[in-house]
Every structure is written in C-alpha cells, then in structure tokens.
C-alpha cells in the first residue's frame, strides 16, 4: 500500500465523516406539523416582560408535561440563536445572550418555541421580551432565610451579580454563632455605605462607611427597642430608624398564616458623627405607632408610616397606617413640626408600609394592604406608586399579582424596582424586577434569572429584603465577623433636644 493510496483513504474517511456530520446536523431541521396560536407556558413567565440589556441570560422551562423534545429560537436585530431544551429547560449560553443583547436597548427579542408533543412537532406563537433603554444596577443584596415562624438555623446576607449568575455571601451566621442578622440597608445604593443588625448572640448594628466599620449598641433607656427599620440620609451622616415592640401570632385559618404586629413603635434619627439619636414629638408619640422612616433623595423630607394606637394584638386588624412626611434640615439637625399626610390609607380601610422614594425624587413606591405593617405575610399586599408632584397614588397593576408583593427597592437610575413576591408558590418570596417608565407605569416584571431555574423549586429559602447596589460590596465576611464578634461596641445616647 503506497503513501498516495493511504492519503486517498484518509481523504475519503474525512469526506465521509463530514457528510455524516452534515446529515446529522440536517436532522435538526424539524418538520413542524402544527402552529399554535398561543405562546408556550413557561417557568418563569418571561413572556412579554421588559428587561435591561445588561441582565444575565433568561433561562426558562417549558411547562408542557407532554413535551419530549423542544427548541427555542431567540431572534433580535437580524441575529438568531437556537437553543435545544435539556430536561425541558432552555439554557442559552452566556456568550450567545451577550451577543444578542449587544446594542439591543429599545429593541424586542422574539422567542419562538417548537416542541415535540406526542410524536409531532408543534410551533408555539412567538413571544416578545422587551429590552429597555435603561440599564439596571449590576448587583442586588438580599438575605437568604427560611420563611420563618420563630426559630431559624442558617441565614446570611448575600450579593448577586445581575449581569451573570454569581452569588456570594457577604456574611452568614456561621461566622457569628448562628445568630440572627437582618435589615441590611445602603446609602443611595452605595455598596461602601451599608448597615445591618445582629440579634441574639453578639447583638448590635454594624455600620460600614467608606471602608470603616463600627459596631453599635443601639439600646437606650428612652427607646422601646434597639434600632430596627433603617433608611440612610443621602448625605450618609444620618440614618432614620424605627424602634418597635414587635410580636407575632399565628392565624388559625387565614391564608396569611402569620401575623406580625407592633404593640408600640417610634421613629428616631441616628447621627452617625455624634453617636446619638434624636427625634420629634410627632415621630415619638405615645398615641400613635410610627414606623418605616425613609428619607427623600434630597434629604430634606422624612417620610414615615403612622397609625392610631390600638390595643394589640386583639385589635390587630384595626391598625391602619397612613403615609406622612415631615421636613428635615440636615444642617441644623431639626425635624419639622408640620405633619403632611400624603396618603391617608385608613380612609379606605387600608394600610401603607415600606415607603421608598425613587432616587430622582418623582415617585414614592409603597405596599398597600388591608391592615398592619408586616405586609410580607399579607396576601392582599400590592405595590402602589405615589406621584410626588401630583400626589396621585395608583397600583402598579402590571407588577402586582393575586399573592403578596411587598418589600421593594429602587435602582439608582429610578428605572427599575426590585420587589419580593410570593406569587410562585404562595410561601417562598422571590425577587422580581419591574421597569418603571417616565410616566410611572410598570412593565410586566421578570423573576431573577438563574443558571438553573429549577433552583426555585428545590430552594427552601426566601429572598428577603432585596436591595439594589451600584457595585460589589467590598466588606468581607472575615472583617465583618471580626468586628461583630471581637471589637468593642459604641453605645449610642438618646438626645431629646
């Protein structure tokens, strides 16, 4: 056998191999027997949602139980990518997604799903995903915790890169003796200025400010509890807090399961430079419950919720919080005496919780439910937007669902909100993102994308208090836990002024 003959054989082999590969590739050309008029049922429901172009790839699952094979074609601006389903899940590659999203702001991504059902291929109606012009902040922070009744085991504060799937722990309670950690908050979405509380073991509040960390003992003789719900002043000098005497009880037959209530509450402002808290008569009234303070982005107004005092827990259903505001002068450190009631929910037998002002100062987003302030356990809790110029309040219908929508936060460009919703299974809160347009209208929200979307089925933890941040939190678990466990704490004082 000479060399030429061997080369010929080799050439024939490669030609045959290429032909086989081509034939096998051609077998992907499916024969569609039927075209359906409806878009497929998918999980999460990403149909007709509006997303930012810098979001991680949206991976989803085909819900049709009869499907044996499926593929999805992603098309935008003349480019297309076809993804085969693996276990009914379409896992588009990160690189393909990035290519599709490149310069796609303001465009529409069309997705066409074709599925083999009972031995025939059917094509569903394509569904659009709208790409907003505005990007989203690259990170969110949240607490992962089992939806609690009373006890807990593992919990931690995590950050998630929204542009990919990376999640990392900021701190977990494995580093702090399995204690409770909660109420993480940021100053204007700045990852360098944040705080969170520790309860039970090593109790206190950790305040991180431009690289420095201090631990506070926030109990005083004059306040009913340690500091609770926070809101940073945009200057970073002040932080408004509520102090709450909180209890909880368990419903016998109500779908809401748990009732969390305040038997008393007040609002105070912490001066970070002087290590002292101060307040005003309206914020510290014995006749009313005041809670959920939040500063306006210009720092000149302090919004909060207030309700007439009731005998608790017996009258828990009668507690209805209104949205109020007082002026605040950061230079003189004075709180206005004129209380402005922006939204009197009690007139409609409703209750406001978690007011949050958009960074551009145009809107105030809040949760509205039938009563009380712990709306995360209220099935009727919905998101409402208050136009601060017109003072018109209206529901964010596209964002709401029949189940709970509660804790929420604004992105730094005021174009996106993230909120907790129990809409998937009625119990475990998941973070949803909704685009808010210039007219204050929400687009259909989308669920936080995951590398494997089935994580939502097997995870037994809730995403608690989702907050946008403009970058990655640089404080690490080692330093934070060292301060929490070993460093002496500052005692704050109450200055009645």
């Amino acid at each position: 056998m000479n060399v030429r003959y061997q080369l010929k054989i080799t050439r024939h082999f490669f030609v045959s191999l290429c032909t086989c590969i081509t034939i096998l590739s051609c077998s992907d050309q499916i024969q569609v027997a039927r075209t359906l008029g409806d878009a497929p049922e998918i999980f999460p429901d990403y149909t007709f949602v509006t997303i930012p172009s810098n979001i991680a790839p949206l991976r989803f699952l085909l819900k049709d139980s009869l499907t044996t094979q499926a593929q999805a074609r992603f098309e935008i601006q003349g480019q297309s990518v076809t993804v085969k389903a693996k276990d009914k899940q379409f896992k588009i590659a990160v690189s393909d997604w990035k290519k599709l999203m490149n310069g796609a702001e303001g465009q529409t991504l069309q997705i066409t799903v074709t599925a083999k059902i009972e031995n025939e291929w059917v094509r569903y109606a394509p569904f659009p995903i709208y790409i907003a012009r505005e990007p989203i902040d690259p990170f969110i922070a949240y607490r992962l915790i089992e939806p609690l009744y009373e006890t807990w085991n593992n919990m931690g504060i995590y950050q998630r890169n929204l542009e990919n799937y990376t999640e990392s722990a900021v701190i977990t309670n494995n580093s702090t003796g399995k204690n409770c950690m909660n109420c993480h908050a940021f100053c204007m979405q700045d990852p360098d200025r944040m705080l969170f509380h520790l309860r039970m073991k090593y109790p206190g509040t950790l305040i991180m400010y431009d690289g420095a960390i201090e631990k506070l003992n926030t109990k005083t003789e004059k306040t009913i509890s340690a500091l609770v719900y926070p809101s940073w002043h945009p200057s970073g000098r002040y932080i408004a807090f509520s102090v709450n005497d909180t209890g909880q009880a368990f419903h016998a037959s109500d779908p809401n399961r748990v009732e969390v209530f305040d038997a008393a509450s007040d609002v105070v402002i912490y001066d970070r430079e002087k290590h002292e808290i101060f307040t005003s008569a309206d914020l510290f009234s014995d006749d009313a419950f005041e809670t959920f303070p939040t500063f306006s982005p210009d720092g000149k107004t302090l919004y909060y919720c207030t309700a007439q005092k009731q005998s608790m827990p017996e009258a828990y259903e009668k507690v209805q919080y209104n949205l109020c505001a007082v002026t605040f002068d950061p230079e003189k450190r004075t709180i206005g005496t004129q209380v402005d009631t922006l939204y009197k929910a009690s007139d409609n037998h409703q209750s406001v919780s978690f007011p949050r002002v958009s960074p551009n100062g145009k809107y105030l987003l809040f949760t509205l439910s039938g009563y009380g302030n712990f709306s995360i356990w209220h099935k009727d809790a919905d998101l409402y937007l208050l136009n601060l110029q017109t003072r018109e309040a209206y529901p964010l219908e596209a964002a709401n669902s029949p189940d709970v929508e509660s804790y929420h936060a604004w992105s730094s460009n005021s174009s996106w909100v993230v909120f907790s919703s129990r809409r998937i299974d009625g119990l475990y809160t998941r973070p949803y993102f909704a685009h808010i347009d210039d007219n204050g209208q929400a687009a259909k929200p989308f669920l936080l994308p995951q590398k494997d979307i089935l994580i939502y089925n097997s995870s037994l933890t809730s995403y608690n208090i989702p907050e946008f941040i403009k970058g990655k939190i640089a404080y690490d678990s080692y330093t934070l836990s060292d301060v929490a466990v070993n460093k002496p704490e500052h005692y704050i004082i109450f200055n009645p002024e």
Binding site: T176, S253, D425, Y478
Partner: protein, 624 residues
C-alpha cells in the same frame, strides 16, 4: 527417586505455605466478620429506634441544587455520602447494617495501616479503639454521621498513602490528599496530616521534615478559608466538633481525632527487639483495659436510656401504631417524663380513649398532655404531632416548620411530609406541590410523595380522604389568632367547627381535668352532654361529676353516672375521712386502689407552681 522425593517435598512445602496463607487470610476475615456481626447485633438491639429517629435529621436528594449547595462547603462530600447512607436508616435493619459496616471498615483500615507499620504486632485490639469511640458518639443526637463518613474517607486515603513506596510520590500524594480532604471531609485533615508526619518519623524516612509540606498546605488552605469566611468558622472546622451543632459541641468529640496518631505511637513500641515479650503482653492487656474503660465512659456519657425509649415511642407514633405506643408505655419500668406522656396521650386521643384512660397512667400535671415549646426541634416535632391530633392544623403546620428549619441537613423528611399534609388540608396546593417534588427526589419517600399528587388541586379527593378530609373539617370557618386567649378557646372553636373530630374534645376536657379547672369543665359538660360530641360520660368525666356533686348534691344524677362509680367514690371518701390526719400514709394507701381516678389526682397531684400548668400560651414571640 531423589527427584521424586524433592518434588514431593516441594509440593508439601507449597501446601504448607498455601495453608499458612489461607490461615493468615482466614483469621482476619473471621475476626472482622465477628466484629461486624457483633456490632450489627449490638446496634440493632440498642439503636434500632435511634436510627429511625436520626434518619429524619438528614435528607438525600437526587437534585442538582442540593448536591451543588452541599458540595460548596467543607465536608460537603462527606455530608452527601452520609445523607445518602442515612436514607436507608428508615428501613428495618438499615441503620444497623450501614453503621456496623462503616465501623467495621474503620477497624479494617486502621488494622491494615497499623499492620503496615509493624507487621509483627497483633493490631486487632488497637484497631478496635476508633470503633469503640465512634460507636457511642454516634448515639449522641448532636453528632452528625458526616463525621464518621469523613473519618472513613480519611482512613482510605491514609491506607493508600502507607502503601506508596516512593518517598516523592508519597509526598505529592499527601499534599494532594490534604487538599481533597480539606474540602471533601473538613476537619479530618488534622488527624491525617499528623498521622502522615508521625508515619514518616517512625519510619525514619530520610528528610522526613519534607513531610511538613502537607501541614503547610493544610495551613495555607485553612488560612485562605479563614480569610474568605471568618475566624469562628475556621476554629470550628479545625476540630472534630465540626460535625456537631456549634452550640452543643463537646470537647470529648476531639478525643478520637488523636486516635490514629496514638495508635501509630503504640505500634512503634512493638518493633522487634524493642520490648520484652512479657512487657508487650502486658501492654496489650493495658490496651484492652483502656478500650474497655473508653467503652464504659462513652456508654455512660452518650447512651441515654430514657431518650432511646422516646425514640421507640416516637417511631410508633410516626407510623400511627397507637396500640404499640400504649402497650410499650404500659410495659416500661423507666421513670416517666413529659415526652413519654405526650406520646401516650396522643395515642390515647387517636384511639379516642383519652378521657377514659386519662388517669390510668398517673399523669403528673398538664405537661403530661401539653408540652411547652422550648424552641428545640424535639419539642417542635412532638408538638406538631400533638396539634395535628387535636385538629389545630395551623399550629401543627407551624411546629412542623419550626422542626424542619432545625434539621441538620437540607431538610427533615418527616416534617416535609407533614407540611405536604397540612398544605393539602389548607388547600395551598402550590407549596404542597413544591414539597412533594422535593420528596419525590428522595430515596425513602418517593412513592409516598407521588401518591399525594392525587390530592393536588382536587378538593374532592382531599375531602374524601379519611385523614385529610377529617382534618380539613377542623379548619375554623372564622379565623382567629391561635392561642391568643388560650388553647382551650381555640379547641372550643374547632369542636364547634367539626364536632365529629373526637380528639379535639378529648384534649379540651383532659386539659380542664388535668388543670383541675372545674368551672370550665362544668361548662363544657353542660354544653356538650347529650350531643354528638358527648353522648355519654367517659370514666374520668363520671369521676369529676361525682366530685362536683359534693357541692351540688345529686348533680351526678343529671348525667346518668353509674351507681358503681358513685359507690366507689363513697368508699374513696370514707377512706380519706378515716385517714385524713396522716396524708402520706393515705396517699400510699389510696394510690393502689384509686390511683387511676380523677379523685386521687385532684387530691394528691399538685399543679406546677411556676404557672406552666395553664392552658394559656403566650402569643408573643419574635418575628424575623
């Protein structure tokens, strides 16, 4: 001829060698077979119900998220293996088979490593040391099985290590294994690197100091791990109590971490010519004595007889074997406690004989019936059963949740089952389906979970089911906050909602009787006597009614109390009056004859002065 003789001699020699080899192989095989059999019998006899009980602390799932999450932290691989093994503990003999197998393997590997160190040393005694230490620590509820799996993996790698002849290869292997062990099995790197170092020193390897390299590798990884997490997590990881609840760790757990290095040192004493035969024999005797002492110490420290009986009752309760609960409770000679009593009373209520038999088993107060919630998973688990039996589904769900949160591993399968049931009862099908999907990925609960799909989004199927349907009827039409004004008020509402659910009424009346709350008992009697709920008076009621008749003469006639009961009371009363000046003698005398009556209970059992014997529960707790 000579050649023939030589061949014959050679064959005989071969045969002798062959016989000797077979003998050498057979003896260890027989020895370890005996050890395994002994362990199996011991564990099956003493730990049968312990295995059933601890099985619920860990759950293995064929689920990517669970596997990835578990592997992401140190000792994750060992935990996965432990979770997998423990999935079989719910089956008869499963716990004893797996545990004895793991312990025997630990012994075999220890023996093989020691043999390599000193071939002439009879290492069979010393190789029992880790077995004895592990054997009893495994009966400690705070200790996780992940620890034993991690130790076994460490021994496997150490076994391979000692069989590597080339020093350089051994060094590379040791470094690599340290990294693997660090992430896969956690704190067992400590005995591993110490053993390696000791091995090389005892072996007098040239440049043995090079084998400090694995120590440096371990230090490096620990440093990185500490910097990425915290000092506290690193401290936990370093010690064997990594496999326990942090808050419940015990210095004793670290004792067996030095087991292998100590064994290696002892083996070194048995080098030929080092010690006289008599001293060696004496040392072997000392070892045996030390192991015996450890056995005794471990046994007394970690085997809690009273809790093992609770495990047995709990097993029967979990499987609805109410007759077995009552029978075993009656048979035991152990001192009774609240846990036993609660199990018994649940069984009596489920058999609908609680009010008949309430005083038969000498209750010592209301806590015999209604356990205080002390935030432990044991009390949460038991209260879940108790509330479920009462028909208070919301609180049963709450307690199932509390117990599930405190599972060591991913979840508590038993509580997940209960959460499936409570959510089906409430009609919250989406979350029920979530739990069903999770259990369908398990080994032991798959078929049960799939069967529950029959109820999903099908109210008719739920209502027609004997268990779920009856419990659904207990859900009050009008909502209230549970235990806000007392458990008794809640139970009254449930009775009004579902009078056919006899357990609720039995519990309510038992609460009043045990609390000697005669006003509420009387009101209950007058409300329900002659109705579907209380067509006739059970024994304890008759006794209480007769006692009430002391104030209202003839009161008992309104309730058709048998004359026999009245007559027995008269006898009781006479004895009390006759001997009223010597109460201690009276108590002893009456206990024999009237110890099973409400009269005796009312007179001699004092309620808890701390006020815990009240039906009111504090509704306040801390939300998060």
């Amino acid at each position: 001829m000579m050649l023939k003789k030589r061949i014959h001699s050679s064959i005989n020699k071969d045969c002798r060698l062959h016989k000797s080899n077979i003998f050498q192989l057979f003896i260890p095989f027989l020895y370890w077979l005996l050890v395994w059999t002994g362990l199996f019998l011991f564990l099956q006899t003493n730990g049968k119900y312990h295995f059933y009980y601890i099985e619920q602390n860990q759950l293995f799932l064929f689920d990517t998220h669970y596997i990835i999450t578990t592997l992401q932290h140190p000792a994750g691989f060992a935990q996965l293996l432990a979770d997998f093994c423990m999935s079989f503990y719910i089956r008869p003999y499963g716990g004893a088979v797996w545990t004895s197998l793991m312990l025997t393997l630990i012994g075999i590997f220890t023996s093989a490593i020691l043999k390599k160190r000193s071939p002439h040393y009879n290492r069979f005694i010393l190789s029992l040391l880790p077995i004895v230490l592990f054997l009893f620590i495994l009966f400690d509820y705070n200790y996780q099985y992940t620890g034993i799996v991690a130790y076994l993996i460490m021994l496997c790698l150490l076994y391979l290590y000692v069989h590597l002849k080339n020093d350089a290869i051994r060094l590379v292997y040791a470094c690599f294994s340290t990294i693997v062990l660090f992430w896969g099995t956690g704190s067992v790197i400590i005995p591993f690197i110490i053993s390696i170092l000791l091995w090389e020193i005892l072996k007098k390897t040239q440049r043995a100091y090079l084998f400090l390299l694995p120590v440096l590798v371990a230090a490096l990884f620990l440093g990185i791990y500490t910097r990425l997490t915290s000092v506290e997590q690193c401290k936990t990881l370093l010690f064997s109590n990594y496999f326990t609840e942090v808050s419940l760790s015990d210095a004793w757990y670290n004792f067996f971490w030095i087991c292998m290095p100590v064994s290696l040192l002892i083996t070194a004493l048995y080098q030929p010519g080092l010690l006289k035969r008599s001293i060696r024999t004496g040392l072997s005797g000392l070892q045996l004595l030390a192991i015996g002492l450890l056995y005794w110490l471990s046994f007394t420290k970690y085997t809690h007889q009273e809790f093992s009986f609770y495990n047995e009752l709990d097993y029967y309760m979990r499987n609805g074997q109410w007759d077995e609960v009552i029978k075993r409770y009656g048979e035991t000679t152990d001192t009774k406690n609240d846990l036993y009593d609660c199990c018994l009373n649940i069984a009596l209520a489920e058999k609908q004989v609680l009010t008949d038999s309430l005083f038969y088993f000498n209750p010592h107060g209301i806590r015999s019936l209604y356990l205080q919630w002390n935030q432990s998973s044991i009390s949460a688990s038991l209260l879940n059963e108790l509330y479920f039996s009462m028909g208070h589904i919301a609180l049963a769900q709450r307690m199932a949740f509390e117990a599930n949160v405190n599972a060591y591993g991913y979840s508590n399968p038993r509580m997940l089952k209960r959460l499936v049931q409570t959510n089906l009862i409430f009609g919250t099908y989406d979350v029920a389906e979530k739990y069903i999907s999770i259990l369908e990925k398990s080994i032991g609960y798959r078929s049960w979970a799939t069967q529950q799909r029959h109820f999903l989004r099908n109210d008719k199927n739920v209502e027609n089911d004997p268990l779920l349907g009856q419990k659904r009827k207990c859900i009050p039409a009008e909502n209230f906050l549970s235990e806000l004004t007392g458990l008794d008020v809640d139970l009254k509402k449930i009775i009004r909602q579902n009078p056919a659910h006899k357990q609720t009424f039995q519990y309510l009346s038992a609460l009043y009787l045990l609390n000697k709350d005669m006003d509420n008992f009387k009101e209950l009697l007058q409300t329900y006597y002659g109705t579907e709920v209380l067509p006739a008076l059970p024994k304890s009621f008759q006794e209480a009614v007769v006692l009430l008749s002391e104030d209202e003469i003839g009161y008992w006639r309104n309730f058709q109390v048998p004359t026999g009961t009245v007559g027995r009371y008269n006898g009781y009363r006479k004895k009390v009056l006759d001997e009223r000046y010597s109460m201690n003698t009276l108590k002893t005398t009456l206990e024999k004859e009237y110890g099973d009556t409400f009269w005796y209970y009312a007179l001699f059992i004092e309620l808890d002065p701390t006020g815990q014997d009240e039906t009111d529960a504090n509704p306040k707790s801390h939300p998060h």
